[in-house]
């Protein structure tokens, strides 16, 4: 099970719930489970999200592997100047 933590504006779609224990082997599988729980969250997971898996940041990485017992943070996507 991965511990998935939502931050910032995403919490508006989860009635304030921050942390989820989810069973998924990839980022996309975690997204699907979250979208099933909170359908209004789905479009916000599709785009504009950075995913930090065990301290390593990924952007637009649906297929990234999520090892068991990972800590996964969902953050706003980062750009730059």
């Amino acid at each position: 099970m991965a511990r998935v933590v939502l931050t910032g504006g995403l919490l508006r779609f989860t009635e304030g719930t921050e942390t989820f224990e989810l069973d998924g082997a990839t980022v996309r599988q975690l997204f699907r489970q979250l979208a099933a729980l909170y359908p209004d969250l789905e479009p916000h997971l599709e785009e504009g999200i950075a995913v930090v898996i065990n301290g390593q940041m990924y952007q637009d990485a649906w297929l990234e592997q999520v090892p068991p017992d990972s800590e996964v943070f969902l953050l706003p996507q980062i750009a730059g100047g």
Binding site: N54, E71, P76, I78, A79, G80
Partner: protein, 756 residues
């Protein structure tokens, strides 16, 4: 250090002359305004003189009748787009707002807002035509400052803007586009555990990226609808996406070439003239060249936000920070989209805190829509936090470096925005500064010393690289990230390292949008990291093919061939006794062994390592004039691994200089009508070489484990610490805490006077 394949490094970490150096110093390099075509027209733009006004009527007939005028476009020539955020490459873009910013429809929202564009046979005729466009305005009340724009009685810019991030969503329109919040732990409990609590409010002014090269482009649309665009941009693939969407074109019909670029710093990640030039060219099927004059550039292109920041920090008397709180109010300009979100995330990122709460507001006002500026959002919030950290050190009588060391983020620390850090080099930068002779040197009268640190995430992203082996064994290397800071040299060095050949055998170029796969822009400190990963992968891909060709020549299995020191060799005695084959040997036999030899990579680079920096500055304040002289400056930054150390030092030095300008001089000055009064470098004062001492750069190398050579991005972080470092030094020199930027002579004199 050794490379990913275990070899000692011959090129990475050295300082060769850049491949584009001769063209740059001889004037041969072609920048955005240097493209000329037969039959080319010149474009000019009519801009609003008002900060906020409704356009009651617009008549271009007299301008169109002027001899030499070939085309005119207004907002009516552009498709109406819906207000929604759409992915554009790796960005989320509201194309309705982008379109309205590029050319106004029924309202103008800032002094300089484009209203119409003209293409004519000469620059003089185009400018004359602009004057002949008749326009009637209904002037509306305006608001510039973020705090004033948030007031209940402020003029509301957009009647369809309702604050996001507030539950329930407001039913009354306002200038607050969004509220964001990041929190961790229990902020009240954290402050309850504190022996000392400090709080202060800070204000910063908007500052421009200050790139020397103007915005410039040439567009040419043919009769069959296919178009070419040449422009100065940080990302020609992104420019293509924006222009195609704004004009309703198929992406395949638009080919974009990035020129050499004379600075961008985030300000050339967006488009201004490009869609106008394309629309004008569409009308007449002739090339149209447009160059934005400096005054228009200041009035119409994105600076970064001005802001109001409140910070509160609690700590134990022995220096352990127990809680941090901040409220950030950032100007977005005329349309939503300030960098307040990363500002919130970065504010306390350098420190190991259990209890944090940061709230941010994205506020529209009658100024140009902000654009990214190095580490967008972070310099503002970290300026405020680093200033208060300095006050805390003084209050607790703890050395400012020691206080930071006691609280510094390190591997395993949970960042204030949530996740844990991997390997990072913040402590190493603090120790590097602490160990300098500079830090131990004495100060004189009216002199002060300041320390500040900074953090930026860094990013990767979609990136392509292509390598072609020429018939003589030299290599054409093509990448898609425009070269702003010497990245072509770094790319060639990494390929030389991988291929085992001299760097001069590799010619690096920036490919246009039709010659290489999609590549996100040069920004977010990603070019050396992401394109570096791509060229390494492309090199290894080419080596596989070279081994395959050698195996065919020797008629042995490919597994029996190794690539070593730029040559294919038998793997061992059992593989056979063959003379090694060089790149040139294999190139000349390419036709006989299967055809041209190439390598390529199309990746989404992941695992960008964050970068920390710490700056140290000495200043002297003249109590008679309020002039702040920067006496000495040393900056340390974790680069992971410096591919070309001189260019890393250049990034550190450039960021420090821009930050010093932000701290001491730079600001937008508006009159009571909301018109910009200092739209030029004479009145908008960026630091020049004679203003500054040498910026001593110290490169710290804590390798990023996900990059084959350990690279971290370096372009963003160095602009973060200077404002607080200078403010902390001024405080040391004057014993007066200045909490607004810029600390220009009038501000200093006023502060000194009030303190007496």
């Amino acid at each position: 250090m050794s490379s990913g394949n275990g070899k000692d490094l011959k090129w990475v970490g050295t300082r060769p002359i850049r491949p584009d150096g001769v063209d740059k110093v001889t004037g041969r390099a072609k920048f955005g305004a240097d493209n000329f075509n037969a039959g080319m027209l010149t474009g000019a733009v009519l801009r609003s003189p008002h900060a906020h006004a409704r356009i009651k009527s617009l008549d271009t007939s007299k301008a169109a009748a002027l001899q030499g005028v070939k085309a005119i476009v207004t907002g009516a020539d552009f498709p109406e787009l819906s207000s929604e955020f759409i992915p554009a490459g790796e960005m989320m873009v509201n194309y309705r707002d982008m379109s309205l910013n590029i050319i106004a429809r029924d309202k103008v929202f800032y002094d300089g807002h484009a209203i119409a564009a003209v293409a004519a046979t000469s620059d003089a005729i185009a400018k004359e035509a602009v004057k002949l466009i008749e326009i009637e305005y209904e002037i509306l009340p305006h608001v510039i400052d973020a705090v004033e724009a948030m007031a209940p009685d402020a003029p509301v810019l957009h009647d369809d803007l309702f604050t996001e991030g507030v539950d329930p969503k407001p039913t009354k329109a306002s200038n607050v586009a969004k509220r964001v919040e990041f929190k961790m732990g229990d902020i009240e409990d954290g402050f309850a555990k504190a022996d000392v609590i400090l709080e202060r409010e800070y204000n910063t002014k908007p500052v421009h990226q200050g790139y020397i090269e103007l915005h410039a482009c040439t567009a040419s649309v043919s009769e069959d609808g296919y178009a070419e665009l040449w422009c100065s941009t940080q990302g020609h693939f992104v420019a293509r996406a924006h222009c195609a969407r704004l004009l309703g074109m198929d992406i395949s019909k638009l080919r974009v070439t990035s020129s050499e670029i004379g600075g961008g710093f985030g300000g050339k990640t967006v488009v201004y003239l490009e869609p106008l030039a394309l629309a004008l060219s569409q009308k007449v099927c002739q090339p149209v060249r447009m160059v934005m004059p400096r005054d228009e550039l200041f009035r119409a292109t994105g600076p970064t936000s001005g802001a109001n920041i409140y910070v509160k920090i609690g700590a134990t008397k022995d220096g352990r920070i127990t809680a941090g709180e901040a409220v950030l109010k950032y100007q977005a300009g005329a349309y939503p989209g300030s960098p307040v979100q990363p500002g919130c995330m970065c504010a306390f990122a350098p420190y190991e805190l259990e209890n944090v709460k940061v709230v941010g507001y994205d506020v529209v006002s009658n100024r140009p829509k902000v654009a990214a500026y190095r580490a967008p959002g972070a310099p503002i919030s970290e300026y405020a936090v680093e200033s208060l950290i300095d006050e805390l050190a003084k209050k607790l009588e703890i050395d400012p470096i020691e206080l930071r060391l006691m609280n510094a983020a390190k591997e395993g620390t949970r960042a204030a925005y949530g996740p844990k850090f991997g390997p990072v080099g913040f402590i190493e930068t603090l120790n590097a500064i602490k160990d300098t002779e500079h830090y131990k040197s004495p100060l004189g009268a009216n002199q002060g010393r300041g320390i500040a640190s900074g953090f930026w995430f860094n990013i990767g992203g979609e990136t392509s690289a292509s390598m072609l082996l020429n018939e003589d064994g030299t290599i054409e290397l093509t990448v898609g990230t425009p070269d702003i800071g010497g990245s072509r040299a770094s790319m060639a060095m990494m390929v030389a390292e991988e291929m085992g050949v001299h760097m001069k055998k590799i010619r690096p170029r920036i490919g246009d949008t039709s010659t290489i796969g999609y590549t996100f822009l040069t920004g977010g400190s990603r070019a050396t990291f992401s394109s570096g990963m791509a060229v390494v992968e492309a090199s290894r891909n080419m080596i596989e093919e070279l081994r395959n060709r050698a195996a065919k020549i020797w008629e042995i299995p490919v597994d029996a061939v190794i690539w070593e020191e730029g040559q294919a060799k038998p793997a061992g005695g059992n593989a056979g006794d063959f003379e090694p084959l060089s790149l040139a040997d294999l190139a000349v036999k390419a036709g006989k062994t299967g055809g041209p030899i190439a390598g390529h990579a199309e990746i989404n680079a992941q695992g960008a390592g964050p970068s920390f920096g710490t700056h140290l500055v000495d200043v002297e304040v003249d109590p008679e004039t309020g002039y702040v002289k920067v006496l000495r400056y040393t900056a340390a930054q974790d680069a992971g691994k410096a591919i070309h150390p001189a260019y890393v030092e250049g990034q550190i030095q450039g960021g420090a200089v821009q930050g010093i300008g932000w701290a001491l001089n730079e600001e937008y000055i508006y009159n009571d009508k909301g018109q910009l009064e200092n739209a030029g470098f004479l009145d908008y004062r960026i630091p020049v070489a004679s203003d500054l001492p040498m910026i001593d750069a110290i490169i710290v190398e804590v390798p990023n484990p996900t990059h084959p050579y350990g690279v971290r991005g370096v372009g963003e972080t160095p602009i973060i610490p200077p404002m607080a470092a200078v403010a902390n030094a001024v405080d040391g020199a004057t014993k007066v805490r200045f909490s607004q930027l810029p600390m220009s002579p009038p501000v200093i004199l006023k502060g000194l006077s009030e303190a007496r």
